[in-house]
């Protein structure tokens, strides 16, 4: 509403690893219109109260992707997050640097790991010689081919998804949502010659660490939906290469498992994914669990109408992925 202001309390993360033993939170209360963005508020704090505050920003219009940070624990672009809804929900606004990247100072992080994973996917066209660039022209694509990119070309590399990702947090070797969404973009590009190699290269340690928690899709300011593109990559990897990784073996094993009885056979799934040797490694845990939950030792019942399930498989699982 024009003219009305609210009293907005900010708690801004301050930390200089070269000087400070630990981070502190600096509190500021400003009178602001509820539609003020977090970035505008921060620039007022820096301009009028404390010029030593470090932050990264440039375009102020959610195009450059520079100002991603945590707003009340959510990874967001500061330039497009209004203070009103945050204050309504939390009564205050806590501003912290992105996660999964070391703090350089205050709200500025070292993005090296994020860019490292991006560079590793070779984010450029490797032209297919069978589809040469027409002389004197751009390399044209049909509208249907362009549609396969889905929303991925809109990515502004802000790293909000990388900050929100629990798989990156647990395993720094995991490329993260943005690198994989970009990879998808090249894998489906009809002008690119390397899509099979790209899928092959990403699998060990890459694709199958994704938890499909969809936190990246919530964090993304451009609705790239990285988690859904990672799903697409997994299905493509199985179709192109078969179940070569533990992760793809688990997915394909699950698919075969359900076909038997219509319900999951928990014990058999462990065997399908880990093999007999892997199962032995889990023997202690199995005995411990079976004492409280003896059902894990028996097979599930066979559902009624299993023949219908079987016919759905026969119709739609023809190229399976179990074989190549």
């Amino acid at each position: 509403m024009a003219g009305t202001t609210v009293s907005a309390t900010f708690e801004v993360y301050r930390f200089d690893p070269k000087k400070d033993a630990s981070p502190r939170y600096q509190r500021h209360t400003l009178e602001l219109a509820p539609h003020t963005t977090v970035l505008t508020a921060l620039l007022r704090i820096r301009g009028e109260i404390d010029p030593s505050l470090a932050l990264r920003y440039s375009c102020r219009s959610s195009i450059c992707g520079s100002c991603a940070m945590q707003v009340n624990s959510k990874s967001r672009l500061a330039c497009e997050t209004q203070i009103g809804p945050e204050l309504e929900r939390h009564g205050r606004i806590v501003l912290e640097p992105m996660r999964n990247q070391a703090v350089l100072r205050d709200l500025v992080v070292d993005q090296a790991p994020f860019w490292h994973h991006y560079a590793k996917i070779e984010p450029h066209l490797i032209l297919d010689p069978r589809r040469p660039m027409p002389a004197g022209k751009e390399n044209p694509m049909s509208p249907e081919e362009v549609e396969r990119f889905k929303e991925t070309p809109r990515c502004i590399a802000c790293a909000a998804c990388f900050s929100a990702c629990p798989a990156v947090e647990a395993d720094p070797g995991f490329p993260g949502p943005m690198a994989l969404a970009k990879l998808y973009r090249y894998v489906v590009d009809p002008r690119d010659a390397a899509h099979q190699d790209r899928l092959l290269a990403i699998q060990p340690g890459g694709l199958w660490t994704c938890l499909r928690c969809h936190l990246c899709t919530e964090a993304c300011p451009k609705d790239i939906r990285p988690s859904e593109r990672i799903r697409d990559l997994k299905e493509m990897a199985i179709r192109v290469q078969g179940a070569t990784e533990l992760g793809s073996r688990h997915a394909v094993g699950f698919k075969a498992n359900l076909r038997d009885r219509g319900l999951l056979n928990e014990m058999k799934l462990v065997r399908q994914t880990s093999g007999l040797f892997g199962m032995l490694g889990q023997l202690g845990q199995g005995i411990r669990v079976a004492r409280k939950k003896p059902e894990i030792l028996s097979r599930p019942r066979r559902i009624e109408g299993l023949d219908e399930v079987e016919r759905i498989y026969a119709a739609l699982d023809t190229d399976g992925g179990d074989a190549k």
């Binding site: 647990a170 928690c213 319900l263």
Partner: protein, 294 residues
Amino acid sequence: MKLAYYPGCVAQESGKELDLATRWVCRALDIELVDFPNFSCCGSGFIDEANEVLNVALNARNLAIAERAGLDVLTICSTCQGMLSLANLRLGDARVKARVDGALKPIGIEYRGTTKVKHLLQVLVQDVGLAAIRAKVRRPLRGLKIGAFYGCHLLRPADEMQFESGEEPRSFEDLLDALGATPVYYRGRVMCCGFPIQFVKPGTATGIAGRQIDDAKAHGAEAMATPCPLCHLSLDTYQNQAAKSVGHALDMPVFHLPQVVGLAFGATPEELGLPRHLVPTDAVVARIGPTTPA
């Protein structure tokens, strides 16, 4: 209220206590559960990764079973909720619908898309309502600090699940409050439990579970509660391994959603299957005050 009961695999197998507690709570709330012995597994997200259309078709069959009976579906697992809802959504795409119909029609199954899929948490908070829940409480969980742990697929992608905020939900905390407990807010409550990679990268998976339990504890939680039996596997069944991954004991009792409701309604631990948990719940349950007669 009458609903098609979709228990999912785990609640029929190693997580039977969840089925037990769900039936107890639904009886107490006059929710009639209709069993369908022909429901299949939802694919748990894994079949979706291996073959998207197959996954949609299997769940279209499940939805069509409820549709024929004219009932909405009740799920008690965040992943089942996610997979069944996603099937409804993806069948809105004419190309997907055509392929799925091509497999279903020859076996006499018609999917029309008239059935809603609701998780027990949704039914309790939105359909039964917190006032009606409060009225049923005979043994308030007074003084008990409980950290809700939502499970990803009940919430996200939020624009597809159409339940509540994917990052800042509050229905479970509101419910805990109605039961007399003190909800604990912590970052981990909306995070992943690690289960999807339990068989692929066990150490990483249990480390993720341990981190969320630690976070709940650091914010004062004495127990956790989850609407997802897969999260329960990570947080309870594999808690010993989570403890190994984070390098210290966790000792965190973890309830299934209907177990906390049942306890507040006056059910005994046995009626709710609590003795089946790997991490004992008795010490926490013993701290709840006496039951007032109805």
